[in-house]
């Protein structure tokens, strides 16, 4: 059960890096006397982003400046900004940690995140640039009934953004708390204040530049670290030979395999780290997750919005290609960062600081710089952590902007004002919507203290893949798609994705938690007896092992007692279940096809002559970019 528990925590943190930190208080990564250094580096990077915001603020005058940086971002710049939006803390901290703890499986996990961009490049980027203006709903409302589709589109954007944003906020709060030592609540509020200042004052101009700066910093820091790792462990072939021969990695595999690993030679154990199956044990879940990733990325509102910031379809295409080069290159570097951390730091320390492995990269930086007590080591750790922090703030800012555009542009201007609002009123509405949404997110983030929020990111991707993606794709490419299809697709996609996650193993089932805790407590006395026997044996090696075992036992007993106390009055999960109804952690395999089916059936059952009459226009425009909005020509529809 225990090993399953670790696997579970780790696979939950796959999608979201810091959830495991939230679950258990951990020993400090940075010694007290070096905290000032973390603080100084954090302040320097925050200062830089605020300077950018200050400069950008002067350029934001129209709604187009606010939502899409006036369409004046170049392909290369947008490529870096997309990479910035995507290389969240989940990829940097989460994936390097997974590789450090689980070897090959962690690396395999990173692949889907890049492949997702193939569908963005081929079917989403250019048509969306050609048809859209500020938001996802602009695309949906083009040929369908504007009021209805704007409302469902906006609701979906707000839902996805909220899930993703709350998860990131909780992670940021925990990260800051671990590194600088300020309270969780204050950390979350500070992140909220920063993200809002980027968005309110600098709009998309500042958000884009903050993303670019942060992505460049992230890539530079990673390159420096990888070069340092290579200089110590050798390049490709030698590097892997060192991995296989490393005693820390061999010990890690031996502890993962348990009895199955007994009798294996050290080299065989090391080799096993480079083979699949240490972490991922449910293939169908991996496939389901792959579906959510590959189609969900194309439906994430803050990624979609990026394509409205470039002037032409060609620039949109170039930006995705740059993004793919940067993101892919980054994941290849992550392989060496993760394996480097496994050798240089070692799994026991990494998982002691954070069970999900999220601190692997910062700890590697510390070790490369000279270790826990060195000034350079702690400076490097602070730098890596500050870049990770900037990453989270930039991503949440982009999410706030996406949600604000849905509230202000779609619901307020589009539906309530019927598309008639002055330039000033539109920008003001955007800013007010950002403030309102930001406060809501911070409040939810504080309320979610100590909760495992990993399923929220799974949910964001699942809803994006099951509702947004089918609707966008079908309205752009299927002649008979209409309002009925969009409404049905959004509704069915969202409801099935959320519903299936609510009854999935992602939720906490108090009965099972309590049973496991009780089992731990019941088994404790017998274990203690054998430890005591070892302690009095006189054999030094056995005594040393027994001391460690006693400490571990103490921890697990404390945790079990806490679990029993916390769920004293609960028997069932949030939706009243004693056990999961649905076995998949990610609903993509079921909910994506259902979303498509709903669009098709809804369209066939609904009569919408306008959608059909508008098809020629949509079809020509999405292919040719005639009358592109925000770009060269002034063609606008609303």
């Amino acid at each position: 059960m225990h090993r399953g528990g670790i696997g579970l925590a780790a696979s939950a943190t796959l999608l979201f890096p810091c959830a495991a930190v939230a679950a258990a208080p951990s020993p400090a990564a940075v010694p007290e006397q070096h905290r000032w250094l973390s603080f100084a580096v954090f302040m320097a990077i925050i200062g830089l982003t605020l300077l950018v915001t200050y400069i950008a603020a002067k350029r934001v005058k129209t709604p187009s400046d606010f939502y899409t940086a006036g369409g004046g971002v170049s392909g290369l710049q947008n490529g870096w900004a997309i990479a910035g939006d995507y290389l969240s803390a989940a990829s940097f901290l989460g994936i390097s940690g997974l590789i450090a703890l689980w070897g090959f499986d962690g690396f395999m996990y990173s692949v889907g995140w890049l492949v997702a961009y193939v569908s963005v490049l081929l079917v989403i980027a250019e048509p969306c640039r050609n048809i859209g203006k500020y938001t996802l709903s602009d695309i949906l409302a083009y040929r369908n009934e504007p009021q209805k589709t704007r409302i469902v589109g906006a609701l979906s954007v707000i839902t996805v953004s909220t899930f993703y944003l709350v998860a990131q906020l909780v992670g940021a709060g925990v990260l800051v708390k671990t590194l600088i030592g300020i309270d969780y609540e204050i950390s979350v509020m500070a992140v909220g204040a920063l993200m809002l200042s980027y968005v309110i004052f600098g709009g998309m101009v500042a958000t884009t530049w903050v993303q670019i700066i942060k992505a460049v910093l992230l890539v530079l820091v990673s390159i420096v670290m990888v070069v340092m790792v290579w200089s110590q462990y050798g390049f490709f072939g030698d590097f892997f030979a060192n991995v296989v021969g490393d005693p820390k990695i061999q010990a890690r595999v031996a502890s993962l395999l348990g009895d199955a690993g007994k009798g294996m030679s050290p080299e065989a154990l090391g080799q096993r780290f480079l083979e699949p199956g240490l972490l991922l044990k449910a293939p169908i879940d991996q496939i389901s997750l792959g579906i959510a990733l590959v189609f969900g990325t194309a439906g994430l509102p803050h990624i979609l919005m990026r394509f409205f910031t470039v002037p032409t379809a060609r620039a949109a295409r170039i930006s995705v290609v740059w993004a793919m080069a940067i993101i892919g290159g980054f994941y290849v570097l992550t392989l060496f960062l993760g394996l480097g951390a496994a050798m240089k730091v070692g799994a026991p320390l990494i998982s002691e600081i954070d069970a999900g492995g999220n601190m692997a990269a910062p700890l590697l930086a510390q070790a490369l710089g000279g270790g826990r007590d060195s000034l350079l080591g702690n400076f490097m750790l602070a730098l890596v952590a500050a870049v990770a922090f900037a990453t989270i703030v930039a991503v949440v800012a982009a999410l706030v902007l996406a949600a604000a555009s849905a509230i202000a542009h779609d619901i307020y201007v589009g539906v309530i004002k019927g598309g008639k609002a002055s330039t000033e009123a539109q920008v003001l509405a955007g800013r007010l919507a950002a403030v309102a949404f930001g406060f809501l997110a911070v409040a939810l983030g504080i309320a979610a203290k100590g909760q495992n929020v990993a399923h929220l990111v799974a949910l964001a991707f699942a809803v994006a893949a099951s509702a947004n993606f089918p609707c966008i794709l079908m309205t752009l490419f299927w002649r008979r798609c209409n309002t009925g299809g969009i409404l049905a697709g959004m509704l069915v996609g969202t409801v099935t994705a959320i519903g299936l996650v609510l009854v999935s193993p992602n939720m906490i089932y108090p009965k099972a938690v309590k049973a496991a805790a009780q089992q731990t407590l019941d088994a404790a006395p017998a274990k203690l007896k054998s430890i005591d026997a070892a302690l009095s044996s006189g054999d030094l090696v056995r005594i040393e092992a027994a001391k460690k075992a006693r400490a571990a036992l103490g921890k697990s007993v404390t945790r079990a007692r806490e679990d029993l106390e916390r769920y004293r009055h609960d028997e069932t999960s949030i939706v009243g279940l004693e056990a999961p109804l649905f076995e998949l952690r990610n609903p993509g395999l079921i909910s994506v096809p259902l979303g498509f089916l709903a669009v098709i059936l809804g369209s066939l059952l609904y009569r919408d002559p306008r959608a059909l009459a508008m098809w020629d226009e949509v079809h020509v425009r999405q292919n040719t970019g005639m009358l592109i909005a925000g770009g060269g020509q002034a063609g606008k529809r609303d």
Binding site: V115, E275, P283, I318, H619, N623
Partner: protein, 111 residues
């Protein structure tokens, strides 16, 4: 405002537009199919054929690592192929259609 001035149906029915569209759909469909299929080979292969992933190719480097790295390569090649053809061919054809349309609307105004 300007949308009503353009006869979308006639462009949609134009053989040049049709040809462009047909080429794009065929090419994009092929690339999309290949890359998605290649991607899902990875989780499926790791789950059901782990022994293939364990085969050592050189030194300690096994087929699994090379296969996972090749996923990146394939994604990049797909992106490069698409960009190359789009820049070279699709953009030119699109431009021709746009030019033609512009010429038509100017003519329309003169008449």
């Amino acid at each position: 405002m300007a949308t009503r001035a353009i006869d979308w149906a006639s462009i949609d029915a134009d053989p040049r537009f049709q040809a462009l569209h047909r080429k794009k759909v065929k090419f994009l469909g092929l690339l999309m199919g290949v890359s998605i299929a290649y991607y899902f080979l990875l989780p499926v292969g790791a789950a059901y054929f782990p022994e293939l992933f364990r085969i050592r190719v050189f030194g300690v480097v096994n087929a699994g690592i090379l296969f996972a790295l090749s996923e990146f390569l394939v994604a990049w090649v797909v992106a490069a192929l698409y960009t190359w053809r789009a820049n070279r061919e699709f953009d030119r054809l699109t431009e021709e259609i746009n030019q033609l349309q512009m010429a038509r609307s100017i003519q329309g105004r003169q008449l």
